[in-house]
């Protein structure tokens, strides 16, 4: 049900126009000087306006102006800075075109660009000047330009019909509709003819005759009316927009609802625009409807339908698409459902013989069945020739000669066989056999050959089988009836079967496309990381489009990388890369088969995600995409862009995470250290304070001194650990290798831990022939110190701590074993990480001990691993590659 009977403006339209305004403020503004035909003085007026702006100190320059040697115009043009034209070489001549890059570099406030509909010479960046103008607007530069009525796409055919002159250069209506200002330059026909006679009108390449044909009062008046009407409509629409924006209550209370029926012809554009206008004046709401029938659309029709849908969207008309064989029925049903009061349709009748069978054509039926609803019927602008074509749409005959020959062979062969058994079968049966044959053949051949088969079989049947034999004459009337029916049946059969086949083929192609897209989506979702994604993309594009491609990604700063990704299959030159840069900046495709820089070999597409361009993809087309392929390609690119976007986001999320992690680590370190420092300091302070304040008995004092001593040692150890850790972190450990006696090493360590080892049984195992090893004594001493200290902290009293050394084949091994709690299996690798604390870490310590062990061992290019012992406890194995010197006296 509609809720359109409130007074509120359509929220979608409102949003659309707000967005529109926002977009517009970043873009330059386009002012079109519009006229009914050449010679009314558009360029002159434009230059005059320009001069007055110049006097107001606006930065206005001329990009391109064609004075056509009219002295007054040339005079005006002199007052401006003119950007020199670009000279292009084309087919042994030089051509001059507007220098787009120079203008963008110059960046004026306003630029004057004459003749919006002009086609650029090959070698220019864009094929049409209006593309150039669009690029200027994108760059925030305002543009003044000129345009004639005949140049508007929607009007060009009409103008051709009126004037008899073919219009070759057109501009899409959207540009006109989206222009900020349109100024009509008007002249009465009499005045124009006056100017013509004075030689003030420019008419290129036309013979005097043609000019006279064109510039007839009748023609000119018609054109003038068109121009005036167009501008008036525009004013009307602007008024409507204005009223809607200001939320001024318009005549929405009318309760009128309009429906426009569109199809895949160019008439729909006219319908939509006209209906839109009408709906304002009536104050009616407006919707559009497209009925999808069984008719297969060819490429051209598909494109037109798409354009119509686009236009509907642009005009802010909500569009519904319904599938139904019976168009009229569908429209009427929809109209009733939506409370439509007015229907707008075009006069084009529908196609095929079907409409004949439906007893009356589309329009008549609509009028008849519409009941209370008003029906507006707009005339078509297409010539009758086209209408006829549509009414009887013949299938196209494109099969090869070979197919025809094979068909003929089949039919004649079957007929021959039947002939041999003529007497057994009888001629009626033969007809069925032939019918059967043609039906089977229709499964394999296309329409053309089937027609031929039908014709031949009918003729053969007539000639050879229907009495009287060997004549085309048919004796009995019943036979005649049979013959006619046979022919019709065989024909219809053939057509229908081949249509089914065609349909099937289309469905299959569509399925393949869906499948391709599905597989792409799946391949992309599995790929992790940019590298894998690119591999998947290059692969899938090869697979489905048989195209080599090159991918250039964006950088972190949202500019384009300087080079293509190494997995790309096409080598790009400097030139190619600069084109890619342009495409990236302007987010529109360029290259072969496009409107921009079409002379190249490669085609460049932007990969547009939600937050901007993710990169560029470059392919080498061998031929232009069909409409269906193009759709699939767009879908592919959309998927790919989305995936890249996600990957980039994931990378930046990871970075943020890492920053977060290092923050966390810093915090942990900070907290841990300050905690660790405070504890012994507290003890020292407290104990010494106590001792200072009063006299205590000897043993109390001794205890306190002892505490101070212990705390100080702990503090010292912490400082050593921190210093060692920072040495490791800064990478400044270069082991000072010297010959070491392992006994010395063991002794030194045990000495330093005398106090702690009091409660334990420490055993040191050194094989008798242990050589001297070249290590950094200090570092390894620290390593063993940390390991044994840990052992004392986490083992039960009186348990055994073993220190074992041995050397074998270049590797110096040290093992430290205890009978403590060991480590949880899952954490055996992470215990060497900074700040790792065991679960029952009751004693002080920052958790740096083991990471220092690892750091120092690795500085020797050695390894350290932790394991749990079979009967409980931890085992640390250190392996260091060393030079040895055996204990042999050299002197004596």
């Amino acid at each position: 049900m509609n809720n359109f009977d409130d007074n509120r403006p359509n929220p979608d339209e409102l949003l659309a126009s707000l967005y529109h305004d926002e977009e517009k403020s970043k873009l330059g503004e386009l002012k079109i000087f519009f006229g009914m035909c050449a010679g009314v003085g558009k360029t002159y007026t434009m230059l005059q306006t320009g001069l007055s702006e110049k006097r107001k100190n606006k930065d206005i320059i001329i990009g391109y102006v064609e004075t056509h040697n009219r002295s007054e115009t040339a005079e005006l043009a002199k007052g401006f800075e003119i950007v020199p034209r670009k000279i292009l070489d084309y087919k042994n001549t030089t051509v001059q075109e507007m220098d787009l890059d120079a203008i963008i570099a110059r960046n004026p406030h306003i630029v004057i660009v004459d003749e919006l509909a002009h086609t650029n010479a090959p070698g220019s960046r864009h094929t049409k000047r209006y593309h150039d103008v669009l690029e200027l607007l994108e760059n925030g530069i305002n543009v003044y330009t000129t345009l004639n009525v005949q140049h508007l796409e929607s009007r060009s055919e009409t103008v051709s019909q009126i004037t008899g002159v073919v219009v070759r250069e057109t501009v899409p209506d959207e540009i006109f509709e989206n222009a900020s200002e349109v100024e009509l330059v008007d002249l009465t026909p009499v005045e124009l003819l006056q100017r013509l006679s004075e030689g003030k009108v420019y008419a290129p390449e036309r013979s005097k005759e043609a000019i006279e044909n064109f510039f007839r009062i009748g023609n000119i008046t018609a054109l003038r009316e068109m121009a005036l009407r167009i501008v008036a409509d525009r004013v009307d629409m602007q008024l409507h927009d204005y009223m809607q924006n200001k939320r001024i209550r318009g005549p929405w209370k009318s309760g009128l609802h309009m429906l426009v029926a569109i199809n895949y012809t160019s008439d729909s554009a006219k319908l939509l625009r006209w209906a839109k206008n009408l709906s304002y004046s009536m104050g009616a709401t407006i919707q559009a409807l497209y009925i999808e029938t069984s008719h297969d659309l060819n490429n051209k029709e598909q494109e037109q339908l798409d354009r119509n849908i686009q236009l509907s969207k642009q005009l802010g008309i909500k569009l519904r698409i319904i599938t139904n064989f019976d168009v009229v029925r569908a429209i009427i049903d929809f109209a009733h459902k939506e409370n439509i009061t007015h229907i707008v349709v075009g006069k084009t009748s529908t196609h095929s013989l079907l409409s004949l069978l439906q007893l009356g054509n589309f329009v008549n039926r609509l009028i008849r069945d519409s009941g209370n609803i008003d029906v507006y019927i707009l005339g078509s602008e297409n010539k009758f020739r086209d209408k006829f074509k549509k009414t009887f749409s013949f299938p196209n005959f494109t099969s090869s000669i070979v197919q025809y020959l094979i068909i003929t062979l089949f039919v004649t062969f079957t007929a021959f066989v039947c002939y041999l058994f003529k007497n057994v079968l009888g001629y009626q049966v033969v007809s069925f056999i032939l019918l059967f044959l043609v039906s089977i053949l229709a499964l394999f051949f296309s329409t053309g050959p089937i027609f031929l088969a039908a014709a031949i079989s009918a003729l053969i049947w007539n000639y050879y089988f229907i009495p009287p034999y060997f004549t085309l004459h048919i004796g009995k009337p019943i036979d005649m009836l049979m013959f006619i029916m046979f022919f019709i049946i065989v024909l219809l059969n053939g057509i229908l079967t081949s249509r089914v086949r065609r349909q099937e083929k289309k469905i299959r192609i569509r399925e393949e496309r869906t499948d391709a897209l599905y597989r792409l989506a799946r391949d992309l979702s599995v790929a992790l990381g940019i590298e894998e994604v690119i591999k998947a993309v290059v692969n899938d594009i090869q697979k489905y489009f048989h195209l080599d491609c090159s991918i250039i990604l964006k950088t972190e700063e949202n500019t384009l990388e300087k080079d293509a990704h190494p997995d790309s299959l096409i080598n790009l030159t400097e030139n190619d890369l600069s084109v890619a840069g342009w495409v990236f900046k302007n987010s529109s495709k360029a290259g072969k088969f496009t409107d921009t820089l079409p002379s190249g070999d490669l085609t460049f597409y932007p990969l547009l995600g939600n937050s901007g361009n993710m990169g560029i993809i470059v392919v080498r087309h061998s031929k232009k995409f069909t409409y269906g392929e193009d759709q699939l390609w767009e879908a592919f690119l959309s998927q790919i862009s989305g995936k890249f976007e996600r990957e980039f986001l994931r990378d930046s999320a990871k970075k943020i995470y890492l920053v977060g992690e290092s923050e966390k680590l810093y915090k942990t370190l900070f907290n841990s250290i300050s905690h660790e420092l405070r504890i012994p300091v507290t003890t020292i302070l407290g104990a010494s304070d106590t001792l200072l304040t009063q006299e205590y008995p000897e043993n109390t004092r001794k205890k306190l001194y002892s505490e101070i001593n212990i705390a100080s040692l702990r503090l010292n150890r912490l400082i050593e650990n921190l210093l060692n850790m920072s040495r490791i972190e800064s990478g400044r450990i270069s082991p000072h290798l010297d010959w070491c006696d392992v006994h010395d090493l063991a002794n030194s360590v045990i000495e330093s831990l005398q106090q702690e080892l009091k409660l334990f049984k420490i055993s040191v195992i050194i094989p008798p022939n242990m050589p001297f090893v070249k290590i950094d004594f200090g570092l390894i001493e620290q390593v063993l110190h940390n390991l044994i200290l840990n052992a004392t902290q986490y083992s039960p009293a009186k348990s055994c701590i073993k220190l074992k050394f041995f050397y074998d084949n270049g590797i110096f091994s040290i093992m430290v074993m205890d009978r403590g709690n060991g480590f949880p299996e899952s954490e055996l690798n992470s215990i060497f990480k900074k700040f790792y604390r065991g679960k029952d870490a009751s004693t002080g310590g920052t958790g740096l001990g083991l990471s220092i062990v690892k750091g120092f061992v690795e500085a020797h290019k050695g390894t350290v691993i932790a394991e749990n012992r079979k009967n409980g406890g931890a085992l640390f194995s250190i392996k260091i590659p060393v030079e040895i010197s055996s204990v042999n006296t050299k002197n004596e």
């Binding site: 002794n747 004594f777 010197s885 002197n891 004596e892």
Partner: protein, 227 residues
């Protein structure tokens, strides 16, 4: 005019000087203090202390330079104070004439022991021919050594090594010094020889060669014959 009992402390840190003052005074020494190298030299010249404690990390001058300046005229023991992990500085100082070293933070016991040993060393100008240390008796004239009154078999190098260390009892000798004295200047880098001989010597003179009590290793620096 030598002050038989004065120890000169040269250290820029007030707390260290205070600590040393308290400790050493409590042990019968008199203290004079300097906070810079220059001041120290002047005080030493006027006061002639029996021992100098020199911090290597002085702010105004390189500890090594001050040491060398001292050694131009001062013949009494100098013990240097340094931080850990600066073995190179310590070795350089010992080779430049310092008698011994202590790393901060140091234990009082060690400090006093080293001071005593250094002073004693210095006073024993007369070389006694027979040294008695712990279980060992070393006859410098006959080149014999006895452990627990039993003669031990030593090669001549081993004896030289033992004698050198024993004569400098309590004092740390750098690897380079020992190598130079016993093997000669060209052998200064061959620490493995030294290790070998030390190991062998230990086997012969120590009760438990694996846990030496006489021939002690000062890691990264040298050896000391223990007290």
């Amino acid at each position: 005019m030598s002050n038989a009992n004065t120890i000169l402390i040269i250290d820029d840190e007030v707390q260290i000087r205070r600590l040393l003052e308290i400790t050493l005074s409590a042990n019968g020494y008199l203290i004079s203090e300097a906070s810079t190298g220059k001041e120290g030299l002047i005080l030493a010249a006027s006061g002639l202390p029996v021992l100098v404690l020199l911090d290597l990390g002085l702010p105004d001058a390189d500890g090594l330079d001050i040491l060398k300046k001292f050694r131009e005229w001062y013949q009494k023991p100098i013990i240097i104070l340094s931080v850990r992990n600066s073995e190179e500085d310590i070795v350089a100082a010992l080779d430049s004439g310092a008698n011994d070293y202590l790393t901060k933070p140091f234990r009082t016991g060690e400090l006093l022991a080293r001071i005593r040993s250094a002073i004693r060393q210095n006073q024993d100008v007369a070389e006694t021919p027979v040294l008695k240390l712990g279980n060992l008796t070393i006859d410098l004239i006959n080149h014999t050594a006895k452990k627990n009154e039993e003669l031990i078999k030593l090669t001549s190098t081993e004896f030289s090594l033992l004698a050198l260390l024993a004569k400098n009892e309590g004092r740390v000798l750098t690897h380079q010094y020992i190598l130079k004295e016993i093997w000669g200047k060209s052998y200064v880098e061959q620490t493995q020889y030294l290790r070998v001989f030390v190991a062998q010597l230990r086997k012969k003179i120590e009760e438990d060669p694996a846990k030496p009590k006489l021939l002690l290793t000062e890691s990264g620096i040298g050896y000391r014959f223990g007290i």
